[in-house]
């Protein structure tokens, strides 16, 4: 498709309106005042139009696809669904997952003895979730990770386990999404 080359229009010859500073300042004030009154009116009638939310008290709902930090899915018995295959460890670009496998007598035979994620290195990329063949590691919707010391950024298996109910929205999303042809 042939595209045009357009020259941008420079305001090179200012008229009296622009040359005197004041009129343009009033134009600017007019714009800001309009915004103010729109917002104010919205506030009065209960339809708040402002973009800012009062964060810790008020929260926005993130999109379905939202990626928080990775967590482990727990079975109903409370044990992790993970079979310690190590794929997520391989897929992780930052090497922040550490897995030590162990055997169990239950049906899945293998569980992780140690499953650590170093959240100070994790970059929430979601590749571990994409790699996992068991739907055992998924991205949660939590992002608040601030701690007082760095040791606490090392999340162990117990810190990571979530029940399927807690992760319902994400697991639903994954199932819908990964049914691609």
């Amino acid at each position: 498709m042939p595209g045009k080359v357009v020259r941008v229009r420079r305001h090179s010859n200012f008229g009296w309106k622009e040359r005197l500073y004041l009129p343009m300042i009033f134009v600017g004030l007019g714009v800001t005042a309009r915004h103010f009154f729109e917002n104010f009116w919205g506030y009065m009638i209960g339809k708040v139009k402002t973009f800012v939310v009062q964060y810790p008290e008020e929260r926005l709902d993130y999109a379905d696809a939202f990626r928080g930090h990775p967590v482990l899915v727990a079975l109903e018995s409370g044990a992790p669904k993970c079979v310690a295959c190590g794929l997520c460890e391989f897929a992780c670009p930052t090497d922040c997952i550490t897995i030590l496998p162990d055997e169990t007598r239950s049906a899945i035979e293998r569980i992780p003895k140690v499953f650590d994620i170093d959240m100070s290195r994790c970059m929430f990329c979601g590749l571990c979730e994409e790699a996992c063949p068991e739907e055992a590691i998924v991205m949660s919707r939590d992002v608040e990770l601030a701690t007082y010391d760095r040791e606490a950024m090392l999340f162990h298996k117990e810190d990571l386990l979530r029940t399927e109910e807690q992760l319902g929205r994400r697991i639903g999303f994954i199932r819908e999404e990964y049914n691609r042809a």
Binding site: V6, V8, H11, A63, L87, E130, E135, E177, N179
Partner: protein, 407 residues
């Protein structure tokens, strides 16, 4: 430093003697977005010489890429230009795809164009907004940021993160365009348009603002070419060179859009070019939406489990796909030995990826040709002879992004 440094005492106005003063600006200066250090030599307020020191945000991008698989490098490309991450994803994946000699389905290409342009809109909004902010105009900045917020919400809906998108994949996209995206996109763009009108009213013809921009930081056409400057800076100098037109990739040859150019190559031209480009990007997005509506339900990925990991439902249930998944993750994509260079038009200019493959699952070399780095180089050329205060608007318009410049 290409410019000669004047060491002699110069005569100030009214016979006052002034010494050359050396001033360090940065690395963390409130009026520059991005960590960069300027060492300027001042005669009064006039810049005599200038040295730009970059590298404060170096994180070893290329070394990290070499140590992982092709797949693992994608999230790192997000962190190059964090204002328009999808464009960097796109450039990298297109380079690998060139080596693999694959083409992705039509819908995938259109979705890539859409995502890339959303990214570009976000980047340009930041650039314009931040330019106003650093000249102490808070209101237009907030309008710009509100518009960017809407764009980033769309990105979040698309790929799950506002900034570090990790969206494009080798041989496709992370996921298809979600339901209802097109409507939401149209709604948001309407609001963005409104905000841009207000932005324009406050800023573009305001003399206080224009005086700071007009005639400052000029870089002539010849200098632009000599310093390999690309992107809005080059176009502001009057050279209509846009990779989307010059070497159309993806679907850009089927899209109708204009290339804005300036005349003098000063900051005001740059500002206007970026503003117009923003409009053109919105126009492109509006052209993508009907196509995406029409192709609903079609795949965006290529159907080759050796390149694109198979869908999860098959991995869970079938042995063959499970094995492919294991091989795909542990060994990575086998890319034929050779080298390829692909450039895309990012918000700052030509963003190129030069990839050398030795035939294994890991890249042998990933080189990113960062537009910010190249465009920052002639800063001293633009500013020597100007005033100290010109640094701020010029640096804003050059839009050096630390993550991309220093990698």
């Amino acid at each position: 430093m290409a410019e000669p440094v004047k060491k002699a005492r110069t005569e100030g106005k009214g016979g006052l003697h002034t010494d050359i003063q050396k001033l360090n600006m940065g690395p963390s200066h409130p009026a520059t977005h991005g960590t960069v250090k300027f060492t300027v030599e001042l005669d009064g307020e006039t810049i005599q010489a200038m040295d730009v020191a970059v590298g404060y945000l170096h994180r070893g991008f290329e070394k990290e890429c070499e140590s992982g698989t092709y797949y693992q490098a994608i999230p790192y490309t997000d962190r190059l230009n964090y204002n328009s991450a999808i464009l960097a994803n796109l450039g990298y994946c297109m380079a690998v795809e060139k080596l693999l000699e694959i083409e992705i389905p039509d819908r995938g290409e259109w979705a890539r164009v859409l995502a890339g342009e959303l990214s570009r809109v976000g980047d340009h909004l930041t650039r314009l907004g931040a330019a106003c902010l650093e000249l102490a105009a808070m209101t237009p900045f907030l309008y710009g940021i509100e518009a960017r917020e809407l764009i980033w919400d769309l990105q979040e809906m698309l790929c799950g993160a506002r900034v570090t998108s990790n969206y494009v994949r080798i041989g496709g996209l992370q996921r298809n365009i979600p339901d209802g995206f097109e409507d939401r996109c149209e709604e948001s763009l309407k609001r963005v348009d409104e905000l841009l009108v207000d932005f324009d009213k406050i800023v573009t013809a305001n003399r206080i603002f224009v005086d700071r921009f007009r005639g400052t930081g000029v870089l002539s056409r010849e200098d632009c070419v000599a310093y390999s400057v690309t992107g809005p800076l080059l176009r502001a100098a009057g050279i209509p060179y846009d990779l989307r037109k010059a070497e159309p990739y993806s679907k850009y040859d089927e899209i109708d859009f204009d290339i804005p150019v300036g005349t003098t190559g000063d900051n005001y031209d740059r500002f206007l070019v970026v503003q117009e480009e923003l409009m053109q990007s919105i126009r492109i997005i509006r052209q993508c939406l009907p196509v995406l509506r029409k192709t609903k339900g079609q795949p965006v990925d290529i159907q080759d489990p050796h390149i694109r990991w198979p869908g999860k439902n098959r991995v869970y249930g079938r042995m063959e796909e499970l094995i492919q998944q294991f091989k795909g993750v542990t060994e990575g994509i086998k890319v034929p030995a050779g080298e390829a260079y692909v450039a895309v038009e990012s918000a700052n200019g030509e963003l190129g990826f030069y990839i050398v493959s030795d035939g294994s699952g890991k890249p042998y070399k990933v080189r990113c040709r960062p537009p910010s780095f190249v465009n920052t180089q002639p800063l001293s050329r633009m500013l020597v002879g100007g005033l100290l205060a010109d640094i701020i608007p010029t640096f804003d318009m050059v839009n050096m992004i630390g993550g991309e410049c220093d990698r």
